[in-house]
Amino acid sequence: MTTGAGVDFGRRVLTVRRRRFALRLEWRSVIVCAVLAVALACLAVLALMTGSYQLSPGQVISALTGGETGLVHDIVVEWRLPRVTAAVVFGAALGVSGAVFQSLLRNPLADPGLIGFAEGSYTGALIVILAVNGTYWQLVGGALLGGMATAVAVYVLAYRRGVQGFRLIIVGIGVSAMLHSLNTWMILKAELEQAMSAAAWNAGSLNGVSWDQVAIGGACIAVLLLLAARLGRPMRQMELGDDAAASQGVRVSATRLWLIVVGVALTATVTAASGPIAFISLVAPQIARRLARTAGITLAPAAFVGALLCLAADYLAQHVAPTTLPVGIITVMLGGGYLGWLLFIEARKRL
């Protein structure tokens, strides 16, 4: 991305140009968010209308307005609607979570997976599924506990007079690799049905999601998103460097810890409700940054891109694949493919 040829301007002019440039970018952000919201709404309607149980648009609308009872009501209001809502809310949460981490670590590859969250929650879930054959809520608890414990362990192990991005990443890689091996080992030793069921959980799926899960998850996510919005400003300041941020009165250490907590908690909520839906947190901020053409990572566009990506992926997972697939498989392929394509285009541009 070229930032214009105006290198030879004097300092003052450059500043003005930058400010005007920045202003235009913000308009773009708002427009992008609006367009994404419209696309999201259209897709949501499409998802409500389609399913393997044949319903006419009239039936769907009458079910939504309370005019149907029995199975038709259940399918639209109890099955399709929570699923669509979950895709939107969870997708947004993942987008923001990734944006927070990428900004925090100043690394386009950062997401909560880096500090071992995904592997840790898989370990927790595996123990519940394989060793305990636990209940659904035990599974949720196990995944949360595993993910959180891992994140804390990585943070503590990387702590040495403060936490430095590079060290956090290395420690995260080490701990993740260890847990990954442990998980592979548990899968290897399990009965086939249970191993496959655990692997399906790990792929991340919105199948069978209910209002209970959406309500509880949504409440947590709403609180966390408000918190993230408040942290947005110090976060942008810290992107310029710890010293620069500190000189503007940002409490760097505390803010960093809070950002990590919010980022991990967002991912944790989604993981607990639906298993780890991969790659949205990695890709959404990147796509958002390119669409909105902002210099750094911004939260709102990332949330919208995350939601759209998750909803689209879930639609494809249900209706396009020959058999229904976990949504996480589609997000990985879609997100990875899109990011790869962007990379390819940018590499060609640079030639």
């Binding site: 968010c33 009872t69 054959n133 249970q194 496959m196 069921s197 199948n207 709403a222 998103l225 911004t298």
Partner: protein, 338 residues
């Protein structure tokens, strides 16, 4: 850099939208109780004139007297096929498992609608559109809990946990699906077969130490296991053959993958049984054991006292009977003691 008003507005917009979603969510939640109550009455309304109540791991379930449209989820598919059931919808079994089924069961398997590539990701809407009158399920507890409400909204659902023993499981499936006649025929066949084996091979059973070893598709390379669960468990517990058994409270021996080095330790057993396919050839995973020099040097192998036995499954009477037939043939081929 300070946050400019427009971005703040963007964040506010996002927050508003998300809280709107949340409010929507909460509304949906409020509506749930009355609606699901309505759903319950609507599902119990159109059942056959005669209903019965069966007890299962998800409580007492009221089901049709003679269910006609049964859908099977997870491990219930094979036992249901085995008692002559014709499922209208099922979750897929692996190709290798289906290949081991008798032809008529394969045909009934193929005729059913595939609801999911495995027991996970059941396509609920597809299941609903089949209009089943009974759903049978055996899947991990956590997974069932998640989809229980949806399943019950479609049809009465009977659920068993994964730790159900195979005999009570066969009984329960037959009871729920009203196929007890077919099952009692199988049970008679089973009892006769056990009695015949015990009578014919009394001396062998009393004076011979057996060991059943196996290797599965998922086994670590270069390892085998002493199979004390599965088919040989039936030979041990029902026929009374002397197969090794894990100590009380310990994991089954089969959970430990033993390196090929330890094949030599099998010298202490009189007879070794190992898995073969329907044609009598060692199963593909087990072929790796047969090829080793250590296996070939084992006294039991040299003396022709290593017996290939066919075990197509151990979760219902049909495949167990096939196993016992195969065991019968194998024992008949056992050379006399030197």
């Amino acid at each position: 850099m300070t946050m400019n008003p427009l971005r703040r507005r963007g964040v506010a917009l996002a927050a508003t939208l998300l809280s709107a979603t949340f409010v929507l969510t909460a509304c949906g939640d409020d509506g749930e109780d009355s609606e699901s109550a309505a759903a319950k009455t609507s599902t119990t309304a159109p059942v056959a004139p005669k209903t019965r109540t069966v007890k299962a791991d998800n409580g007492s379930i009221e089901i049709p007297g003679d269910p006609q449209r049964v859908a099977t989820i997870g491990n219930t598919t094979l036992p249901f096929l085995d008692v002559g059931g014709e499922p209208i919808g099922l979750t897929a079994e692996s190709d290798s498992t289906v290949a081991l089924l008798p032809e008529d069961q394969q045909a009934r398997y193929a005729a059913a609608t595939n609801l999911a590539p495995s027991a996970d990701e059941v396509d609920m809407e597809k299941l609903a559109s089949l209009k089943p009158d009974l759903i049978l399920a055996q899947i991990p507890d956590a997974e069932f809990e998640k989809i229980e409400e949806q399943l019950q909204a479609i049809a009465p659902t009977v659920f068993w946990g994964l730790d159900t023993e195979w005999k009570p499981f066969a009984d329960a499936i037959a009871e729920a699906s009203n196929t007890t006649d077919a099952l009692s025929a199988q049970k008679t066949g089973f009892a006769d077969k056990i009695a015949k084996l015990q009578e014919t091979y009394r001396e062998t059973i009393d004076g011979t130490s057996f060991v059943d070893i196996s290797r599965w598709e998922s086994s670590d390379p270069g390892t085998f296991a002493i199979a004390d669960i599965g088919c040989s468990e039936i030979a041990r517990d029902e026929v009374g053959m002397d197969f090794p058994e894990a100590a009380e409270g310990e994991d089954p021996l089969a959970y430990t993958a033993l390196p090929f080095e330890q094949l030599g330790d099998l010298s202490k057993y009189d007879v070794i049984t190992y898995p073969v396919d329907a044609e009598g050839q060692p199963t593909e995973p087990f072929a790796a054991v047969v090829e080793t020099n250590t296996w070939k040097a084992l006294p039991a192998v040299k003396a022709g006292r290593a017996l290939g036995v066919f075990c197509p499954g151990n979760n219902s009477y049909g495949p167990v009977l096939q196993y016992l037939d195969s065991l019968d043939r194998a024992l008949a081929s056992l050379p006399a003691e030197e």
